[in-house]
Symmetry: D2
Subunit: 402 residues, 4 copies
């Protein structure tokens, strides 16, 4: 196989997750870090001929005015999440990527996200279709100037307020017709980005709870454009644990009466989620899997609170109250102290490699075998993390040799 | 299928697990409790034609002088584990079972267990083969007087000190030759019981970490006797969680640096485990699975401590220290507050039903599909609880119709 | 000293706290339980000549139609908090007290509390002064028919929505003038009860976060009536821990950056607090002490959530994020699993005994030496539990011999 | 008052606690850090005219061959406890202090500590009195060459195996007579150091659980030498919490049935404590206060385990099982995640300042008002942290103006 060059276009390219993924990728390219947290480097995927780290070129959109180096340094000094010495070794690489970041799209993202944007972006008026066209111009310029064989778009931007998919047109033709006029279009930026990429045949991955490519009309577009996509909402911490522990309770017929989860953290994602509208999108995504795994609905409570001192460290406390034999109530509690960006970033890199391989393999439409990476995997009802992971392994076993 | 009557012979028949299993079975027979904690009542096993609760008759061995009603009441008043009102409704049933409990075997059980035994049992001298013969007479008398189609032996007695299986003869012929003389026989009571049952063609289930039927020579005997067996060490609490959570860390390539587990509880099992010799058997069983799941060996620590006030409530605190992306250390902690006997007892009832069905199905030798029930499943290397449970489901799918 | 008979008039007399206090008092009178949880039985108060349990007679108001026996049994069966056998031994005593419970006052208690009330109470129209008069008639009838030397009123009713004390008239004369007309009176039931008792010279204790006797105008009335009172909000669980742990952080100069507390429980108090208006009263009371102890204001978060399965078991998880030497962030977490009514009830009995003794000692106005019993002690700024307790001990040292 | 220069002589001068105290002192001298963790900077001590940071000169003994800079960097890179950038700014100061560190004393420290020592130190043979003389020469040389008005010795070396004080001579004359011969002297290094300092009239502070100046004979020496001393075992983490929380349980008459504490950490102190002999000294010190606070003895368990991955982060899990009203069992659990050296180091600096001030004030013998700093305060039975702290405040109120 001839050497490929693959572009990765990150939405929210200077946010915490993107910054960490970029720092990590640069460190991997220079051999400065190990494989911890990277699923795609596990032995069971060794024969897959996955994309080498050095063949990846990063670009992206952001709505803020900042630099990757400054954002990375905040993760080192405020959150004590990344080693500052490592970041210093990568400054040249980070600065080079800053030059490939273009102004993003603000359509329907809500006032909480808007207030982080630059003034010029906030004052810029364009129709949804204009935004899509602008995104596509950025993508094509990125591909051409970097001589890329393929570009994959990954959404790691802040969570948008919820949109009811049932209220949207169900065919691409109908949805497309709403894009010319901001007053008729009910989509938000994440979906416009997705349309932009998919129309160009570029794969789209939605790592956030925002709507993205989830509407059936956009799924139709992906198939028509002969490309693939998947989402949504990266499964990094508390929900990963829920999807691991809940099957155990189910398999042992222990009746879960209530499952309470409190999450505290202090990064920018936390500030955005402090807006109840944006938070609702997230909480729904975290909470729905229990009913599906148990076949009944225990009382559940999920809170996400912004506590500034926590920085990027997300701490979850879960209290699971269950009934065992003879109806006796018992309790399991856990606390999870993880660094949010460091849990998410390697999954972003994994998704890029698996998606690139799947596209090369001819997989089209929703990549349901990636379910283990998402809180709310599209197109598939399986919520047991162990079984989701077996789907990934089974896909790997079935991939055609490169 | 004609109506069967199945005898269940419990070793340690008046201990905490047996008492709870007996109370629970009686409550199920009278319709006084629900199905919580009973795996065999899950929908995926509904078509298996499993043994009805009413077809089970209980007998057993114990080394102490007590009554099931008194033992059950301790679980109600000291531990607040079972409702005392329920026990009162079942007193007649419990008293009837007391009449079918015979004096057990003390051979090589160690001084900590011996001191719970009755004086007459401690003073009684017999060779290992004499003990086996006495056990067999008890089993045959039980079967005849209760007109039982089949008898299944289940070991829920206290944990014996460890025996190195490598030091034992590897064929049944050789092992059998050691049984006539207490000074040459290296087995302990749990294995003598197993030999007694298996020689009669009766299935044997070892719910404890004691040696039981694990030696190859006894496995040979089971096959020669055309029967089935399985063990060992029921997976009820902390280890269940380890075998559920460890695969998640492995699948996400999160490097577990250390896994510390502290267990406190205050029942008789706890008193026996306070003897370092007996405890060693248990700790080894709890600790070995991590290396097998990870493919490397994190530092591990498992403590089991007798804290009288806890009664039957076993509380485990686990601290998992792992390295994520870019080598950053993170932490998960959990506390598990479960009632030991109530977690174990339903699994004993499940094992009886699955074993009876497997024997009826023609399964012989080690029943490896029962791996999910054991900390150290015999004859199988799988330690991921989710995958073990899928083995049970796959077996159920393949069972011949009754 | 001649034998006294002391009446205790409980507001919310069939609620969880009152029921538990009554069961406990009856058990103490019959010698069926120990002293755990009772502060007034500590050795340092042995010389105080406190009221014997047998000299106490219980009566009270409630707005619901129920019985003490039924309420106590719920605590036994639903919450596994009290032993059902004990309650059965006390049925006659509980039934006798039911006969001394009179319909309560609903004025301004808010819709969430109102919906628990009987229809006749909800339909009953009376002015605030009418309510006070009715309360006083009940108190006087109770005193006369039971030949009581003294009556002490204790509020253990559900939490009312908050009232801004700054909006109230500041003198008794002015406040009294508002009581004839429901449309001008801004007080709620808890304050009407307090006025009723204090006007009769009877001590009043407010164990709840409701306003009660806190307004300066009512404090004036208490002094004018030559009696004593204290409040408010019994300090039973998470706040007790805060007032114990926060001084340690302060004394060690560890800078608390954030203190997050999540409380879950499932009793009727929880249902009432699920109404955001009622909850606000409580959260404010739980949260204010940290700033006073530290002298600066860390970010704080307090949640109280109704989780039905928890019953009377209140579980609090607190996460304290602090900065040590060289600015390094560190963490303390605790979980508190306490039975709400069982933590509150003995304090109610203690308060009765200490208040009775203080009144006999000639103490008038606010009994600030009782600060250690309250989340928001009236008339005193001390929030360090240890120092509050020393105030109680100092008072005991200074009490005139009986 | 004229400007003083005060020498501080640290035993174990390159260990984790000393290194952190030295880094912290240098950072304070250069104004590079805040006051977190420093008790002596609290407002209530502002009028005391305590020693300014810039008047302190550091020297000390150590048995290893290392450098302060390297030890500090381990705390930055392995444990992520101190910011590496800060250490780099202080390299010149750390190197200068290295030049003032002299080889320590190995007498009776046990094999686990011995194996950390340099070969020349291990091979050096001297009598106890020779060791004392060598220590005194080092102290006097330090004082002279640095023109110090006073020198204070502080023991922060590794914990020695336990010595039974009852086996020692009770007068200084008798004890002194044992010092000429290593075979008759039952003391260990910590006491020889103490004797060396006290004979010179220099104050001695024992921050470790080793014996130090605790024997009555050495207390006699301190008074005879007109100087002061205190110990022992700095109260930094779990025991600080015990001495804060236990009084709350006592004051509320909540009967603690069991108190279990598990501590894990991975620094050199942890390696030394992994030797059961050394650990015993520590566990005893952590465990004794509960019985004294409660007046009865709950079942207790304290474990300290070396878990390498934890580095300097000590995590304690405590499980407190108590009985409330009506005998109902309840539970409190906490986890404390603190950086061991960072919790200890500021207390060392505080003790230096308070001891210097007390000596200047004329205080002689045991400085019992420092009880709040120690797990096992000498000469005083008070174990309630709040009351201990009030003793410190009371002392401060009584100090003569400078």
């Amino acid at each position: 196989m001839k050497q490929q060059r693959i572009g990765v276009w990150l939405l929210g390219a200077q946010g915490g997750v993107a910054t960490t993924a970029i720092v990590g990728l640069a460190a991997l390219q220079k051999g400065l870090t190990g494989n911890q947290g990277l699923v795609s480097t596990l032995p069971q995927f060794a024969a897959l001929d996955l994309l080498p780290w050095n063949d990846i070129v990063i670009g992206g959109h952001d709505i803020r005015q900042t630099s990757l180096y400054d954002e990375a340094m905040k993760l080192a000094t405020v959150s004590r999440a990344i080693d500052g010495g490592l970041i210093d070794q990568l400054k040249a690489e980070l600065d080079a990527i800053d030059d490939r970041i273009r102004p993003g799209v603000l359509f329907n993202v809500g006032p909480t996200i808007e207030k982080f944007a630059t003034d010029s972006l906030r004052d810029h008026v364009e129709s949804p279709r204009d935004s899509i066209r602008r995104v596509q111009q950025d993508l094509q310029a990125f591909q051409e100037s970097n001589q890329l064989d393929q570009v994959i778009m990954v959404n790691v931007a802040s969570t948008e307020p919820p949109i009811d998919p049932a209220s949207l047109p169900t065919t691409w033709e109908q949805l497309n017709a709403t894009l010319d006029d901001g007053s008729t279009c009910q989509l938000a930026a994440s979906s416009l980005y997705a349309i932009g990429a998919l129309e160009l045949g570029m794969p789209f991955i939605n790592f956030t709870p925002s709507l993205g490519s989830a509407p059936p009309a956009i799924c139709e577009l992906a198939l028509a454009s002969d490309t693939c996509h998947m989402g949504h909402d990266g499964k990094t911490g508390e929900t990963l644990l829920k999807s691991t522990l809940a099957p155990m309770f189910a398999n042992r017929n222990l009746e879960v009466m209530s499952w309470v989860g409190h999450n505290i953290f202090g990064n920018m994602d936390g500030k955005v989620l402090d807006d109840p509208a944006n938070k609702q999108t997230k909480v729904t995504s975290k909470d729905r899997l229990l009913g599906q795994i148990f076949g009944y609905s225990p009382q559940t409570l999920v809170s996400i609170e912004y506590i500034e001192s926590m920085g990027d460290w997300k701490t979850a406390w879960d209290h699971i109250h269950f009934r065992g034999f003879l109806g006796t109530p018992m309790t399991m509690q856990f606390t999870w102290q993880g660094c949010d960006s460091l849990l998410a970033a390697p999954l972003v890199l994994d998704l890029i490699r698996f998606t690139e391989r799947a596209h090369r393999n001819g997989d089209r439409g929703l990549l349901t075998f990636l379910a283990s990476f998402f809180k709310s995997p599209l197109g598939i009802e399986e919520n047991d993390f162990g079984r989701q992971f077996q789907m990934l392994e089974a896909w790997a076993d079935g991939v055609r040799p490169a």
